[in-house]
């Protein structure tokens, strides 16, 4: 399922709201409006409880209960679809399958021949730098490696949109840095639209074209920031650190 660059694969959110049964509490998401162009890398940052993970699940189609509209590629998002991939914070690999089989989980319902599927799996295992580990089982992998397999699984379908829900949150700092650069490399190569949810502002600045800052109670968009820095970016870059400090100071220093 390849896509020509420039085809309208935009993601649009219009007045998206979600509340849980308790009407008294502020809604989890309050009239979110957002437009993301094809091939863009957008990060959503915010403290815990601002609804960013919930929003991602709505975009993925895992949760259909909301007000407002979510449109992707000109069609309403109602349920899950292979064109919208997702990577979770916990790798969620199946322990009874090896690396290659885990990546192939994504392809079970894909309209490809067996040979094509095998090729796709091999390509993407190599893409995330795990060539040679195809027969390993999840319990034999480190956290970082397992998360890479999860990323490969998210990409193997060639989705037009990849959602990442705090994919590096559970990893140690060193591995996290390495995988951030990997993700940047993969994005530059594949140019898939990516939406990354993270609480790490530096990660957002490092990877994104735009940053959406969300606030909690109710969950709403505070501001959308254009990053505008040249790529490739590195963790130590002065501009990266500078913008990170700005954002943190503006949004995350005062409130609780």
């Amino acid at each position: 399922m390849t896509t020509a660059i420039g085809q309208d694969s935009g993601l649009t959110l219009r007045h998206v709201s979600k509340r849980f049964n308790d009407d008294a509490a502020p809604p989890v998401l309050d009239r979110i409006d957002l437009s993301i162009a094809s091939g863009e890398f957008v990060s959503i940052v915010g403290a815990s409880g601002c609804g960013k993970s919930t929003l991602l699940r709505l975009i993925a189609g895992l949760d259909g209960d909301h007000e407002g509209e979510i449109e992707f590629d000109g069609k309403r998002v109602v349920t899950t679809d292979l064109s919208r991939g997702i990577v979770f914070q916990d790798h969620r690999l199946f322990p009874w399958l090896d690396v290659a089989q885990n990546v192939a989980v994504a392809l079970r319902n894909a309209p490809l021949s067996k040979a094509e599927k095998a090729r796709a799996v091999a390509e993407h295992v190599e893409l995330v730098g795990l060539k040679g580990y195809e027969r390993h089982y999840p319990h034999q992998l480190s956290g970082g490696m397992a998360q890479r397999v999860a990323i490969a699984r998210g990409l193997v379908n060639r989705p037009r949109l990849l959602l990442l829900d705090e994919p590096f949150g559970a990893l140690d700092a060193l591995t996290r840095s390495r995988l951030q650069l990997e993700l940047q490399r993969i994005w530059e190569r594949e140019r898939i639209t990516m939406v990354l949810v993270t609480h790490d502002v530096e990660e957002a600045v490092l990877l994104s074209d735009r940053i959406v800052v969300m606030q909690a109670r109710p969950g709403r968009i505070g501001e959308v920031i254009d990053v505008g820095l040249a790529r490739p970016r590195k963790v130590g870059d002065r501009e990266v650190a500078g913008l990170r400090d700005d954002i943190v100071d503006t949004f995350f220093t005062e409130a609780a």
Partner: protein
Amino acid sequence: MANALTRVFLPAYRARRTLPGDTLRSIGWTALPWIVPIALALLWMTGSRYGWISAQVLPPPALVFETLGALLKNGELWIHVWASMTRAAVGFGGGVALGILLGGLLGLSRTFEAYVLPSFNAIVQVPVLGWLPFLMIVVGIGEPLKYLLIGHAALVPVTLSTLQGFRGTPRALQEVAAVYRYSRWQVIARVTLPSAIPVIGTGVRLAFTKAWLTLVVVELVASSEGLGYLIVYGRQLFQLDLVLAAVLIVGAIGYAADRLLNVFERRLQRGRSV
């Protein structure tokens, strides 16, 4: 708390505000567990009434309850319940006590374990019931037979779980004790024992289930009083109402005791991170 699979198998599942239809649904939900028992009871009653089921095969429920009531009233039931429960108590108590002792020794001393555990494991291979004929020859069919068998049934799980409890002290805690230079006895009293107690509690609960099970079998095979005896007696006279009444009581006591031990076990688990 929704069953995770409802999301897969009830795709229309959504969290939503309360609607009028919900009240009906929640009533239905509460009533659901009762459908099977009530349906069975109705089947039983009508079957007996219309003679589809002969009284020899399954007496009408009314008769069973009548018999139950009569037993309770004339005090005969208490003789048998008392007999069964004292046997269970003595056997179970003895088995648990010995089991903790044995398990403790096995857990604390590698030497003792090296000499004794293989033999213990070999003996455990023979199920409790396997020893019944053997013990019948050795001690006859009186009370000692029951005490020994029930005791054995309780001893095995308690020993194993005590052993596990004493062995399984988290290494992290052992190291803390080492840093503060605890003597061997201090370690046992203040680290090993407290961390072993919840595991032992679980073993005790399991032991009771087995002990109660063994009690029933032994009384079915060889006894002149007790709930198992009642069952056999009723069976031989084709008084199935008596049989069912006794079975009900066996179930009720077993259930009550199990719940009690469950509470006891949970108390012990409090504060322990699983």
